[in-house]
């Protein structure tokens, strides 16, 4: 069997149709490689081989009966461990949910499997998706397959690393302030932030509900497009013929975006995470017989440092006397950040920016200063606040060989144009760096 590390969705389709391999054979080989490589990168937290082989056998049954195959038939997929999978552990990278087994599937998972996807396992991430390096995973950090002494970015670092290392053809991640796009750029893969609301959040464990998105990571724009249900047929010649015009645009409130984001996101998180109180979700402290102390100690013992920091900050900005000055003010500034994009999109179809101010950094390099880590989200956060769609596409490497990502942002629900542009850029060979 050919090397599963370099497969694309098209190649899987061809192989299955030509009977070069069965979905079952592919699933077994993909699982073997994914598990073997995991010792090096820790991209996955756990695997679900039974579920994968069941999904593959359904595809093989369809092939045997010459039935029409789904868009993702037989494709090995990784799913970030903040997305609920029925009967398969979903930890959110947290000790508190170490043994949580969801009784239902996220809508995005149902949609993937109904198209024939084969879910291999669940990927490592920052605890409750809070972080930019995956070092906040309660279990172990992920290593960047391109440079193993460096972080893969975060919070969907496991999904980006799995795709980069060939441990899956595509992966699902989640993006609240850049958590798909930034790790995609660090690992040299493609990552899509769909428009807010385009992909159902049902079954995505909530961090900041007005900012949370599910989206794909893949090795090509075309594969990422297939996962969000968009087909790219036309090549770059169309754009060459049309000739893109480059204009400078101004987004004047960008300087306030990080302050705005870290107020709104932490406020929502403090509310969303109130449910982990030792009653419903697996972990309960062994100490203290009183109810209130049971709540407090369960949360104190179960949450990691960054999650606690954000709960404290979010509770503070919502508390009496501070609500207007922080939370309400941030909601108003958010409207201005969104308005900047509305204005800019009057004169352009898409906006190009970097994804991150720097390439993948070394493990441990930025863990001591939380504010510095927050500031690294500057290019991704404005799009998140506005709820528009975006993509990170590889656009070259640093002199040290580290991947660089370019971000393309487009209007609400304008994924098709954004993906065609990204595909044209990718097919034309990206930038020569």
């Amino acid at each position: 069997m050919e090397d599963v590390r370099t497969l694309t969705i098209d190649r899987v389709h061809q192989g299955l149709r030509a009977r070069q391999f069965s979905a079952g054979e592919l699933a077994r080989e993909a699982l073997r490689i994914a598990e073997k490589e995991n010792g090096k990168f820790s991209s996955y937290l756990h695997f679900c081989p039974e579920r994968a082989l069941e999904a593959a056998s359904r595809v093989d049954a369809q092939i045997a009966k010459s039935e029409k195959l789904g868009e993702l038939a037989g494709v090995p997929v990784a799913v970030k461990d903040v997305i609920s999978t029925r009967s398969v552990r979903t930890t959110c990278g947290s000790r508190l949910l170490e043994n949580y087994i969801p009784p239902y599937d996220a809508t995005a998972v149902i949609r993937l499997e109904s198209e024939g996807a084969v879910i291999l396992g669940k990927t490592n991430c920052d605890e409750f998706a809070m972080g930019s390096s995956t070092e906040n995973s309660a279990f172990c950090p992920v290593r960047n397959p391109v440079a193993p002494d460096r972080v893969p970015g975060g919070s969907s670092g496991g999904s980006a690393a799995a795709v980069a290392a060939g441990q899956a053809v595509v992966a699902l991640g989640s993006d609240t302030g850049g958590s798909i796009r930034q790790p995609a750029s660090f690992c040299g893969v493609v990552g899509v932030l769909p428009t807010y609301g385009r992909v159902s959040r049902y079954g995505l464990v909530a961090f900041a509900s007005s900012l949370d998105h599910i989206g794909p990571l893949a090795r090509t724009v075309k594969d990422a497009a297939t996962v969000v249900g968009d087909r790219i047929r036309r090549g770059p010649d169309v754009f060459r013929r049309l000739g893109c015009e480059i204009r400078e645009v101004s987004l004047p409130h960008t300087d306030y975006a990080i302050a705005c984001y870290y107020i709104i996101a932490t406020a929502e998180a403090s509310s969303n995470l109130a449910r982990y109180d030792g009653v419903r979700y697996t972990f309960r402290t062994r100490r203290d017989p009183t109810l209130l102390d049971m709540y407090r100690n369960t949360r104190g013992e179960g949450f990691g440092a960054e999650v606690k920091r954000r709960i404290i900050l979010g509770t503070y900005v919502l508390s009496a006397g501070y609500y207007d000055a922080y939370y309400l003010k941030a909601q108003k500034v958010r409207a201005l950040v969104a308005r900047d994009f509305t204005e800019a999109f009057r004169s352009v179809d898409a906006i190009l920016t970097p994804v991150s101010p720097f390439p993948a950094f070394k493990l441990g390099e930025k863990m001591s200063d939380p504010l510095e880590m927050y500031l690294s989200d500057i290019y991704t956060i404005t799009g998140s606040l506005a709820g528009i769609c975006g993509i990170s596409v590889p656009c070259g490497r640093t002199s040290a060989g580290l991947p660089i990502g370019m971000q393309i942002l487009a209007k609400h629900f304008d994924e098709h144009r954004m993906l065609r542009l990204a595909h044209a850029f990718e097919t034309a060979g990206g930038f020569e760096v």
Binding site: Y100, I101, P103, Y196, G197, S200, S210, H253, Y256, I258, A259, C260, Y262, I263, S270, A274, D277, G278, V279, R280, Y281, T282, F283, R284, D288, P289, L291, L292, D293, M294, Y295, R296, N297, R299, G300, A305, K308, R309, I311, I312, L313, T315, Y316, S319, L328, K329, A330, Q331, K332, V333, R334, A335, L336, A338, P370, L371, Y374, G387, H412, F413
Partner: protein, 99 residues
């Protein structure tokens, strides 16, 4: 100082979160730095701006909301399946009422 250790204790109390003395000191320092940074929002004139309470203002109601249909939900057995302690179809918690 934007925030004191006393305030961190108060907020942790609101959030039902027990913190060690070391955590209180650390979060006080961290939050002080973060709150000093977010102070820059006061530079923005928002006197004529409505707060952004909904993400897709311009997309129209129908484009973002699914139809409101009744769907089947979990059995209580399933809903209780992740409880650390349950019995007789209920969650069990420490006693809250004195005899």
């Amino acid at each position: 100082m934007k925030i004191t250790e006393k305030e961190v204790r108060y907020v942790a109390d609101l959030a039902n979160l027990s913190l060690t003395e070391e955590e209180i000191r650390r979060y006080c320092t961290d939050l002080d730095e973060i709150l000093a940074y977010v102070e820059k929002l006061t530079e923005v004139d928002t006197s004529h701006v409505e707060p952004m309470a909904q993400v897709l203002y311009e997309a129209g109601v129908g484009s973002t909301l699914r139809s409101d249909q009744v769907r089947s939900s979990f059995s209580s057995e399933k809903a209780l399946s992740n409880a650390p302690l349950s019995g007789a179809g209920h969650y069990k918690v420490p006693k809250v009422v004195e005899r």
